[in-house]
């Protein structure tokens, strides 16, 4: 069975991991780093992902995308409040946000797919095999649209997504594997853009999630913004300068805020420096840990209410939690650790790297799916109640939140008017009474045979699979016939749209590979040209005239091929040059040998 990798597709950083003889490991890149910044840059020289793209945040802010996860499965209205923070143009089409870059528009799954492809490439280079299957993690509190968008991203990247798994539960798998823990654990997962809390019971290899809660729009990003806003205000009052119209300075300021936050997890005070535009010098300011903590106290506070709700839903008091596990980069903040410790009354665990533990857990789940690990099983829950809109705009709940998945609910539908041929069904997710206050997932029209009112009996099955993704089927109870349903997602790409994106992505993949090969061939040709020129000037006198002439001819042939964009011509000319220059390199080698022997006695040589 082909290998399955585990991927943590994060707001700020992404990682890929695999199972190596029962031990999960994160796959490093060529530079040895395990984290790929979740940043994509469309430069004049092509697409860049990760560390290279991060450099472009400052150079090409309007063409460099970061924190794309915040937009997954969302419409434009959902992110209205934070548009000002993003330097690129956002629009909406078919309920899905689109990002305008270089005159083209991209959906968030397409951007995420670029990151996934980079991880795929990384894994393929490291494992020396093709990777086509993956487990991808999402925040536990992600709704159906956000999960579906993540799955779409995988498809577009050429990955079969065998399982969408929740980040805190993935982390618990990594911990559980290491520690063979039993009892109840709370996983507090505070990442770059999202917050999750999951309460689990671990017993004999079963990881049963009792309750989960969270906020998919709360993370380290918000803390950075708070610092950035403070700096912006201060720059405005000290210099009468608004950095708003300077996207590159805004980015620099955001990155400086992030770095300062990170430094303040180890240090008690730090110095922030921001270059001002138009040669107006620089702005510096000292920030102490105490100041940072009072600046962001309310953000940390916002994570505690979901913790209390999750405990309540699990039917547990804080003291009944045996262990607390910290996940996500934001849990490095001392204030976060203190608050968590106060809430649960015990020292939280954090000995696995909080940046890597989710990817490691995804690798464990991948191993379970491929049949490698057989003694562990994760029983996760759906984070939000699922229901349908009924008369008067009220939501009628079919599957309550924290129900173990897979879960299903059957509902019988009939007609109210004679001859009625359809029933419109609106599917919702959320905890509020009224339909309009919940998240609209999808709508569909149930086809009904024209009969007197009340006679048709259509049974609709709502099934939430192990990925937390909804499937709807309908059956006419009179005929026993299954009915196919075309569900129109409220905030998602249609199937045909995803297919088109997959095709495009493959087309681009071919173009990408072709351009990479050309770049490599040109580089190789360049170094061969330089090396041969050097040999010719050093050893030209050692070979006959006709060799020199042949080498010169081959040199200029390769030089002109290098200007063209045909990889094969370049490679052929390179081979021809090497052939022509062979006598020259032989002569050079003989010469250096001879010179090395000069002045030595025969006895020293033999």
């Amino acid at each position: 069975m082909a290998r399955i990798v585990g991927i943590d597709l994060g707001t700020t950083n992404s990682l890929v991991a695999y199972m190596d003889k029962g031990v999960p490991r994160v796959i490093p890149g060529a530079d040895g780093r395990t984290m790929v910044p979740s940043v994509v840059a469309m430069t004049d020289h092509g697409l860049l992902v990760g560390d290279e793209a991060k450099d472009h945040l400052l150079r090409n802010p309007d063409r460099t995308v970061y924190s794309i996860k915040r937009f997954m499965g969302k419409g434009l209205a959902d992110v209205q409040g934070e548009l000002a923070y993003f330097p690129y143009t956002l629009t909406e089409q078919g309920g899905v946000i689109r990002i305008k870059l270089n005159g083209k528009t991209y959906s968030p799954p397409q951007i995420s797919a670029m990151i996934l492809k980079e991880l795929k490439r990384r894994a393929e280079a490291y494992l020396e095999e093709e990777i086509t299957r993956a487990v991808i993690t999402v925040p536990a509190y992600f709704n159906d649209s956000q999960r579906q968008a993540t799955k779409d991203a995988g498809l577009i990247a050429g990955l079969e997504v065998l399982r969408i798994i929740n980040e805190p539960t993935a982390a618990s798998l990594a911990y559980g594997l290491q520690e063979k823990t039993q009892g109840t654990i709370a996983v507090y997962d505070f990442g770059g853009g999202t917050f999750d809390i999951s309460i689990l019971k671990l017993k004999q290899g079963i990881f049963e999630v009792l309750a989960t809660n969270g906020d998919t729009h709360l993370g380290g990003d918000d803390i950075d913004r708070r610092i950035a806003n403070l700096l912006l205000d201060e720059i405005r009052s000290a210099h009468g300068l608004d950095l708003g119209p300077y996207p590159d300075h805004m980015q620099a300021l955001r990155l400086e805020a992030e770095r300062a936050k990170i430094r303040l997890s180890d240090e008690l005070k730090t110095l922030l420096t921001v270059e001002l535009p138009d040669g107006r010098g620089r702005f510096t300011r000292e920030l102490t840990r105490d100041q940072l903590e009072s600046l962001v106290a309310d953000i940390i506070e916002r994570t505690l209410a979901p913790c209390r709700s999750a405990l309540k839903d699990a039917g547990l008091a804080p003291e009944q939690i045996d262990e607390v596990v910290l996940v996500g980069g934001s849990t490095r903040m001392p204030l976060v650790r203190r608050r968590v410790q106060e809430l649960f009354g015990k020292q939280p665990h954090c000995h696995l790297n909080p940046d890597e533990v989710v990817a490691l857990g995804a690798a464990v789940q991948a191993d379970i799916l491929s049949g490698g690990t057989t003694d562990m099983l994760l029983l996760d829950v759906t984070p939000l109640s699922l229901g349908i809109e009924t008369m008067g705009g009220v939501m009628s709940c079919l599957i309550p939140r924290n129900t173990t998945i897979p879960a299903n609910a059957k509902e019988m539908f009939t007609t109210y008017v004679d001859g009625q041929t359809g029933v419109d069904i609106h599917i919702l997710q959320g905890e509020r009474e009224l339909a309009k206050d919940n998240r609209s997932l999808a709508r569909f029209r149930l086809k009904v045979p024209p009969l007197p009112a009340g006679v048709p009996r259509i049974e609709v099955t709502f099934l939430i699979d192990a990925n937390g993704i909804l499937h709807v089927t309908a059956k006419d109870m009179r005929t026993g016939r299954q009915q196919s349903i075309e569900v129109k997602p409220s905030y998602g790409l249609s199937e045909t749209e995803v297919e088109r994106m997959i095709e495009e992505s493959f087309k681009f993949a071919k173009e990408d590979v072709a351009s990479r090969k050309l770049i490599e061939a040109r580089l190789d040709a360049g170094s061969l040209l330089a090396a041969t020129e050097k040999s010719l000037s050093e050893g030209g006198h050692l070979v006959p005239d006709d060799v020199r002439t042949a080498v010169r001819a081959a040199l200029s042939a390769l030089a002109s091929a290098k200007e063209g964009d045909d990889v094969r011509t370049i490679r052929t000319r390179m081979a021809e040059l090497e052939q022509a220059a062979k006598p020259l390199s032989v002569a050079l080698m003989d010469d250096s040998l001879k010179r090395g022997l000069e002045g030595k006695k025969l006895s020293d040589v033999t």
Binding site: M1, L162, R163, K203, Q204, I206, Q365, I368, L369, S370, G371, T374, L377, L378, L379, T403, T404, I405, P406, A407, N408, L463, D465, A466
Partner: protein, 237 residues
Amino acid sequence: MNQPTPSGGSRNVQMARSMCWHCQSEVAGEYFCERCVKVQPVSKETDYFTCLGLPRRLTIDPAVLEAKYYERSRAFHPDFYLNKTEAEQAISLDNAATLNTAYRTLRDPVQRAEYLLDLEAGSVKTIRTSPPADLFEEILELQDTLDAYRAGDHSSETGRQLRARLEAERGALERRQAEMEDELQRLFVEWDALQDRGEADGQARMERDRLLRRMRELLSNRTYVKNIVNDLVETIG
């Protein structure tokens, strides 16, 4: 998924028996065919007790229930069917969903009782919540107090007095709810004993009907009281 219907010949076989969807050999309530080892769908007729491998009894040891649930989760969970055929994957998904519903229902004593009533005496959805007869007057009065408190000034002397009364009522009703739950537990024991005796005479039938009626009444009253308690909690915090 194509599910062969039993042919005429199998009619003679006991009701619980059916055929393996894959190799058509006989399976007798097991979840895996003895011959081809394929997973079998949990039948629609299978009740939640059977689904979890338990007798139809109301007193259930939570530890036993959990152990059964974990054991069957290991047998059915889709995680273990990734290398199997699409038909087997679909069965595993349906079975796991049914198993989860069964566990959720039986884990909670009230839901368990409602489910048993549904099995034994028809839909519980038709049960109307009603106040316990002896509390009728008291509850009417309580509703008035609630209305007065909601309309009035909470910080006034009257407001404080009303609040104190509501708090006392809340305590009393919570105790009443707990009593009803205790009685339900006693009925569970009686019901199980009756089942264990396995008598089918007229007296046993009368006893059975009495127990079901009382359970239905208790559930109806308990839901009513619980709703009022929730209302109170929401109003006075």
